[in-house]
Symmetry: C2
Subunit: 421 residues, 2 copies
């Protein structure tokens, strides 16, 4: 396996062992016992190679980015520099929220290799848990904590202008991944595009209707501009339920390779939008033994709790830090209680509407765009799958177009319930 | 005059001659005739030193940035790196709109020296022309051309995501000047601040009212966030009437040292807001020979024409380039006439409201903030000056708070006229 000029070579299970031996920060994590290592390639995502490395005295995960998108192949190139932004975001978000971000042990920029904490079983990808119908009682509490802390502390509510511009500038370097997101989320679903697909022929007319919906495209343009222009906070950039690993009492956010300074609502919306997709997929997973009714109620409760807890935690951080370094709302100007309240209400209302808009856009692209979600894909009966998807798609269209009419998350949940009654 | 470690030394009229002799790109502009040069320091701005250099066979202007704000002194440091961003913006805007931006002949990053085209007499600073009551029949035509071209071609209407992020990243380096603007425009006027001043005691209560106006401060917070987060286009960053030089048939935009990727409305608003200030100052310049009534009508007409011509030119550029490289509105999605119209209407309406908000904020800061405008300062009778300023301030407050109620620029002009009747 020849290395390229820039010192990059793709690893395999064999060369990985040599790599670990030559890397003290990794070898030491295994207590320098490098015999009988168990190495397993587990990358089930769309983009990268992921190896679990387990020795007698320790373990870690090795993630390597290759210069293309794994699930499509070399025909869709994508910079391996994304590993640098992933490692940087993991470290920065991990510093702000260590309970919910795996620790980075090692980063090799030339090799695009990240060594990080292995999230042991029973950790599974949240999306798989949602398909299996498993409740995670602490999920809303944990993910709201992660979002509140990472978004608050990387915004101008905490940053000075100077810090903010410096950080924004660095993450502008992740432009290729931003461009990819802009394309697959805000463009491809709204036009004829090579990689788009859907449950055909059932949804042919639905996909066409998306491409012909002027009101929808007008709103999507606004969200796309916000995505391209607004450096509000260091967002994860891909915070769907496949980027979260869970157990009954642990919630860990992984895979921030799309991280950049963008609108906060893009992260919150990604998470909530994917929970809504999970909700609409449940009827496809129901069987005689389990009608999933109780589980659907739990998903709706989790949607409601996630936003409400986020709201509570984020505004609490704002209160705690209102005499801090953040330059958005200087205490000398905004120090009266009435104005504090007004300012927060306005900020959170705008963020709520951004969240609904981005969440809806993320739902639509998973039904008629290039990359679908296992929640629906695992429903084998295409007719049933299409019915679930159509419900989700129709709800997402309403949510995107009418998002400013929703005043609180319980109204969104009520609107979902109404569709099902 | 010792040079510092980084190769920087402040020039004076004597050392400038040596500098020119050692710099072929400058010497050649004088036809290499370096005897009998006439050198005059004319920096009447707040920040820099500016020399006019005239020889027998040519001329240019030399501008040098010093590491502090000239009008305040070394007690208010400001990075001399601003010269780099000024030179870069002059070149980029000049490339897009050569008719209205002086050509850059020379840039020396270490010395923070820009050599550029000398705008010969009868060019004067527009603000001085407005105080003198001189009409410029082509002003609206020219400045709208400048704004339309510079803003359109540096936005995602023309840029790919990749180009845009790269450009945004570079101008994030101008963070110190962004921070200065954020402070003096969006913060200082709304709190007690060392350098704030106003026509006292006449406006004491008015200045206090600004600091106590919760509704105003709520709106200013939104504009400040937009200024700090939204990388919409490469804006001039300080486009008031002191940054424009004019003759009867020439309009030249200078001094873009505050340039960065920010909201388009900040530039358009700066220009229109300063025209409105000029309007309200006219009563202070009226005398028995000239009641300035006709001139006030011309200013109002120019305000109206500037926006309307900008609107026309900007949307025309959009039409001409709709199959171009810009990634905001892909032709495959937005190619039907009805949607084209909807998208443009929404964009221009939002931009109009941003413009009014930023324009109003720029007016307020010139009356109760640190840096005032000669339009008012040159009115010697403090009582008359205060009356003019109060009218402008009150109008600005309404404009900022009620900006979304204005549908077109003629409604803004009518509101101004109503105040005077």
């Amino acid at each position: 396996m020849a290395s390229t000029d820039d010192g990059f070579r793709p690893l395999d299970e064999k060369s990985l062992i040599e790599y670990i031996k030559a890397t003290p920060s990794l070898a030491s994590k295994l207590g320098n016992h490098l015999d009988d290592l168990q190495i397993k390639e587990v990358g089930d995502g769309n983009l990268n190679f992921v190896y679990i490395v387990v020795g007698k005295s320790g373990s870690f995960v090795i993630k390597q980015a290759l210069p293309y998108i794994r699930c499509i192949g070399e025909s869709w190139p994508m910079t391996k520099e994304r590993a640098y932004f992933e490692a940087t975001a993991l470290k920065q978000h991990g510093h702000l929220c260590p309970d919910h971000v795996p620790e980075v042990y090692h980063f090799d920029r030339a090799m695009c290799v990240i060594g990080m904490h292995y999230l042991e079983p029973p950790h599974i990808i949240l999306r798989k848990g949602l398909i299996a119908g498993i409740e995670y009682p602490l999920l809303a509490e944990h993910i709201s904590e992660y979002m509140a802390r990472t978004l608050f502390f990387t915004s101008l509510l905490h940053h000075t202008t100077t810090e903010h511009k410096r950080a924004v500038s660095e993450f502008c370097g992740n432009m290729e991944l931003c461009r990819h997101t802009a394309q697959v989320v805000f463009s491809d679903p709204y036009k004829v595009s090579q990689y788009n697909h859907w449950t055909s022929p059932y949804l042919d007319r639905d996909a066409e209707a998306v491409r012909e919906d002027n009101a929808l495209k007008l709103e999507v343009a606004e969200l796309k501009s916000m995505f391209g222009e607004r450096a509000q906070a260091l967002i994860h950039g891909d915070l769907h339920t496949g980027s979260v690993m869970v157990t009954h009492d642990s919630t860990q956010v992984i895979d921030p390779e799309f991280a950049y300074y963008g609108p906060m609502g893009f992260d919150i919306g990604a998470f909530l939008g994917n929970l809504i997709l999970a909700f609409f997929a449940q009827d496809g997973h129901a069987n005689q033994g389990n009608d999933r009714k109780t589980y659907k109620d739990w998903i709706l409760r989790t949607i409601e709790d996630t936003w409400n807890l986020f709201h509570k935690k984020f505004t609490a951080l704002w209160d705690e830090n209102r005499d801090g370094s953040g330059e958005a709302y200087l205490p000398a100007i905004y120090n009266n209680p009435e104005l504090q309240l007004l300012v927060k209400q306005k900020f959170m209302k705008d963020l709520f509407h951004d969240t609904l808009g981005f969440g809806a856009a993320k739902m639509i692209r998973r039904i008629v765009g290039v990359a679908h979600v296992e929640d629906f894909e695992s429903i084998t009966d295409a007719g049933i799958r299409a019915d679930c998807e159509r419900q989700a798609l129709n709800f997402a269209k309403v949510l995107l177009k009418k998002r400013r009419e929703f005043q609180a998350i319980n109204e969104v949940v009520s609107a979902i319930q109404k569709l099902q009654s």
